[in-house]
């Protein structure tokens, strides 16, 4: 049953899928990495020093793009109602969707980080820290995104609101994830992972509660 749900969710969300944002977030992410050197000039030292942070900001903003279609469509067409009647709780369907959402954007984002790091002239060491940070931080970003998408799914103009709501909630991940670039010890990365895990544990329940509330309204 979980396999069936996951397969459908991935079919919807993966780039080239039927309902997701496609490759748009990735292109957006790469576009930021490409534009930044144009904006600040070709000073290699400056780029290498600030590039890691730029990649983080770009990743955070790119994570907002798929939110619009993450929950809204299935809520409107009654998919969650039909699942509920089959004894599949909102929490379970949101857990599966969280996994599918992460799988649909994070691995490709990590891959796209390599060309982005090259564009910004990051050193191998910095690139590695950014990749590890994103690996630790993207589950948290996905969890925040899913929760906010579920909360705003039944609102008119919810998509724009979702983008605004994700940013403050994602700040802790950004602080520790990007903060790992400034310090040599792995503490910040571990904290990023811890925040991510905490958010992933809460998200299915928060998003599930949001779906139930949307049904009653």
């Amino acid at each position: 049953m979980i396999g069936t749900l996951l397969k459908r969710d991935l079919g919807l969300l993966l780039p080239g899928g039927r309902g997701g944002a496609g490759v748009l977030p990735l292109l957006f992410f790469l576009a930021v990495a490409m534009l930044y050197p144009f904006a600040v000039g070709p000073d290699a030292q400056l780029l290498a020093r600030t590039g890691g942070g730029v990649i983080w900001v770009a990743a955070l903003l790119a994570a907002i793009l798929p939110l619009e279609k993450l929950v809204t469509g299935d809520l409107e067409t009654g998919v969650f109602d039909q699942l509920h009647l089959r004894g599949i709780s909102e929490e379970l369907s949101m857990t599966v969707r969280l996994l599918a959402h992460w799988l649909a954007f994070a691995p490709l984002l990590l891959l796209a980080t390599l060309p982005a790091a090259a564009l910004l002239g990051l050193s191998g060491e910095t690139t590695r820290t950014v990749l590890l940070g994103l690996l630790a931080g993207t589950p948290g970003l996905a969890a925040v995104g899913l929760t906010v998408a579920a909360l705003t799914a039944s609102l008119r103009g919810g998509a724009a609101l979702a983008g605004l709501m994700v940013i403050p909630l994602a700040v802790p991940i950004l602080i520790f994830g990007a903060g790992a670039l400034a310090r040599p010890d792995p503490g910040a990365l571990l904290l990023t992972g811890a925040i991510s895990l905490g958010l992933c544990a809460v998200a299915p329940f928060a998003a599930g509660a949001a779906l139930k509330a949307a049904r009653e309204s």
Binding site: M1, T4, L5, R8, L12, R18, G19, E76, T77, G78, V79, D81, Q82, L83, H84, L85, R86, I88, R215, E216
Partner: protein, 193 residues
């Protein structure tokens, strides 16, 4: 297990408005219920309360047996061919006999057609096919005749009759007349708050 659905003294509130109250309903295996009333009187809300999708403002609903719901929301992926969109639900439901449902609803020729190209009536037939596949004893149907042509309506009425013969329960909310096997009629207007 015998299917059973009992609603006791339920009231429904939407926003600040009390739609109906004091409604009781007892369905045993083989019963058919026709819920009638004007638009906006709360037929859909009643169906959703019976399905457990909406909390009643007062009262309680007891159910024994799996429920299947057909309402105005299709819950099929519009970009997929009909066959594949239905296949997702068949996998969840353990699909008893998908071909039979497709045949009963005359959808055989539409399997390859993306759901978004289907007409209103064809979409309704697809939702009914999913209900048939589910093979559950309690049917909750919200305006099932909308968009169906005369022939499909007759086919549908026959399906409901055989479902009730087999010990199933069918609760149909419809403002249209519909031939059900010796139905209990619930005039929602009598329960206005």
């Amino acid at each position: 297990m015998q299917a059973r659905l009992v609603a006791k003294d339920i009231a429904c509130r939407r926003g600040e408005r009390l739609l109906f109250r004091g409604l009781s309903l007892a369905c045993e295996a083989g019963d058919a219920v026709h819920v009638t009333g004007a638009n906006g009187i709360g037929k859909s809300s009643l169906i959703r309360i019976l399905a457990g999708l909406l909390r009643p403002f007062a009262g309680a609903v007891e159910r024994e047996g799996e429920m299947g719901l057909v309402d105005e929301r299709l819950a099929l992926d519009v970009n997929l061919p009909l066959g594949e969109a239905l296949a997702f639900w068949e996998r969840l439901d353990g699909g008893a006999n998908p071909a039979r449902a497709m045949n009963a609803m005359q959808l055989d020729t539409l399997v390859e057609v993306p759901v978004r190209y289907l007409s209103t009536g064809q979409k309704k037939r697809a939702a009914l096919a999913r209900l048939l596949n589910r093979d559950c004893p309690i049917w909750l149907l919200d305006e099932p005749l909308n968009g169906l042509d005369g022939e499909a309506q007759k086919a549908f009425e026959k399906l409901v009759a055989s479902h009730c013969d087999d010990g199933g329960i069918a609760i149909v909310a419809s403002h249209q007349p519909i031939a059900l096997p010796s139905p209990q009629i619930v005039h929602l207007a009598e329960y206005l708050a």
